[in-house]
Amino acid sequence: MSAQAPPVQEELVGGPPVRGSLARRLVGRPELGAVVGAVAVFVFFSVVADAFLQWSSFSTVLYASSTIGIMAVPVALLMIGGEFDLSTGVLVTSSALISSMFSYQMTANVWVGVGVSLLATLAIGFFNGYLLVRTNLPSFIITLGTFLILQGCNLGFTKLISDTVSTKSISDMEGFPSAHKVFASHLTIGDVEIQITVVWWLALVALATWILLRTRAGNWIFAVGGAKEAARAVGVPVARTKIGLYLGVALAAWISGQHLLFNYDVVQSGEGVGNELLYIIAAVIGGCLLTGGYGSAVGAAVGAFIFGMTNKGIVYAQWGADWFKFFLGAMLLLATLLNWWVRKRAEESK
């Protein structure tokens, strides 16, 4: 995709923010519009939905946001780097299936399965990245292929190995309680129960933001997404950067997959299809450009939060269930339009 991308304007190539007054720096940030959108959505549902402003509701919204947000972070980085990944939704399921089935079939401590799953998931991410840089085919096609292959493998292997389409329960196996603590427990802070996925999510956002803004790798990501050939010409390791981005996606898929496994104990092989779009949606709402070279991890997190708030806010507001998808689409469009408008104003005032 990046090959056909038109040359990006100078100020659109994100990179480390321009130094200067706080206002100037704020205006230059890609997540500005998304934050305004998030505040608007928050205020809106606080007014129309009675139950929205409770601590317990806040925890539910955060959980919903975090399960999308964990994946939205590396997906955003990948999009900044100019590539797509359509296999992310089923990769999460694959990752969960691998740890569950390995532990069960080998009668191993579940941590062994978790480790094997990490290796296997990273290998799939590497496969995506390696194939991409070797062939120069659009990532759309390559990851579409991986998506279908994984979908087939999820079902085929599960059926072959467990003889049913869902995994066996591993909750009575050694290592489960500690793994459950790491991937699926919740912390109680005051009156609020916070799911551990929220912690994982915030940690990933912090890590990704640090990489993007404070390291050389971050510069490379912006460069390969903005103008690949130019980046190559000045000595950016394009192949290594892109493979690294796919490994990042795989790592997050592994975390999400382990959460699925240890939270719900049994994994169904057909799950995850369609979720890849949610991750991309979150990144785009958060200000990532579909053409690459521009965006931020914080923005993707805010995007996931907007999606989570809207998704659950409609339920809190008790609007007609039949129209749920309509409301969801309309609200997201409004939030994104507001985001776009704010950013346009900001650019003009610069």
Binding site: T60, A64, A108, S166, D265, G308, K325
Partner: protein
């Protein structure tokens, strides 16, 4: 390099064995209850094919298949199976079996319009067809011998009665697949006989965290809900988790069974389950086709043969737990 990694993985695998659960425990159990599979009849080896509207990776259809396979072994039948959730794809699969001139067909009529023409072709070719699971209303008109399944509306009505018996006031019906007629019929059936109020909520069935957080949100926004009705076994456990997170003491009830549901019924996490006995749908369909070939038998007299609803509570769960584990209930 690869070998080293593999060796390392296997090494840790052997070192990190779990002494509880896992495959070894299962194998121990299987050895104790080994069952043989030989044909009990000497009729010719007929070929029967089953084509359903199941999506990929659906536990329910797995149980249907295991019933059909068991009957096929007993009746000396070669059993073929294919599925596709798209109506026209399902029809094409049926067509390919018609081309192979199978001796009997088992189909679901979840999307009857798409199946009309192949049903007619089967009739013309003299291939007996039995419909299972969905399509009881149109089965006869489209030329099937018999329909075997649960009437979803009747099953829903049974749920409504059971909820009344339990003194429930407000129930939440969790639909995990928007646009699925059968699921709507279950909720509508329940609403018909239930004296209290019943509300629907749509969740993304392929995304468990979404199922959980949506039910959680609903329970937080409406404290009056005292019952959550899941429409598929995998969603019951998630609904229970949601209720716990939301601090609601709503009772969780569900359609369909699996090992986890049986266990949850036993320990009281779930109120009751409505079983339509999918094993029976597969088993009976093959057996009736065989009876029809062998003896020109027809069951049901033009009316659907119902395999459910069977309401299962704590008392029955203990007995069924073993069967759910081996995947036949």
């Amino acid at each position: 390099m690869t070998a080293a990694v593999l060796a390392a993985v296997l090494g840790t695998a052997l070192a990190g064995c779990s002494s509880t659960g896992g495959k070894r425990a299962e194998e121990r159990a299987a050895r104790e209850a080994a069952a043989g599979g030989r044909a009990a009849v000497n009729t010719p080896k007929w070929t029967f094919a089953m084509v359903t509207h199941s999506g990929d990776g659906d536990t329910f259809w797995d149980i249907v298949q295991s019933g059909a396979k068991q009957a096929a072994v007993k009746d000396n039948i070669k059993f073929l199976y294919a599925h596709n959730e798209e109506g026209k794809e399902q029809a094409q699969l049926v067509q390919s079996y018609l081309d192979q001139k199978v001796d009997g067909l088992i189909v679901t009529l979840a999307k009857p319009d798409a199946m009309k023409s192949v049903m007619k072709k089967a009739q013309k070719a003299g291939i007996p067809v039995i419909t299972v699971n969905s399509g009881s209303e149109v089965s006869k008109a489209m030329g099937a011998l018999t329909h075997i399944g649960q009437d979803e509306t009747i099953a829903g009505e049974a749920v409504g009665d059971e909820l009344n018996k339990r003194g429930r006031k407000k129930a939440l019906c969790v639909i995990h697949e928007q646009g699925n007629v059968g699921l709507e019929q279950r909720c509508d059936g329940a609403a018909k006989t239930f004296d209290g109020k019943l509300e629907k909520i749509y969740v993304e069935g392929t995304n468990m965290p979404d199922v959980q957080s949506s039910v959680e949100a609903k329970l937080q926004s409406d404290k009056g809900i005292d019952t959550v009705l899941a429409l598929g076994a995998p969603f019951a456990d998630t609904a229970a988790k949601a209720a716990e997170q939301a601090g609601s003491d709503a009772e969780i009830d569900t359609f369909d069974l699996n090992a986890k549901v049986a266990a949850a019924l036993q320990n009281g996490t779930l109120g009751f389950a409505v079983d339509q006995q999918p094993y029976l749908q597969g088993y009976e369909a093959v057996d009736l086709l065989w009876l029809n070939r062998y003896n020109a038998d027809v069951l049901g007299g033009g009316r659907p043969v119902l395999t459910g609803p069977q309401i299962i509570t704590k008392d029955d769960a203990a007995q069924l737990a073993a069967y759910t584990k081996r995947g036949t209930r």
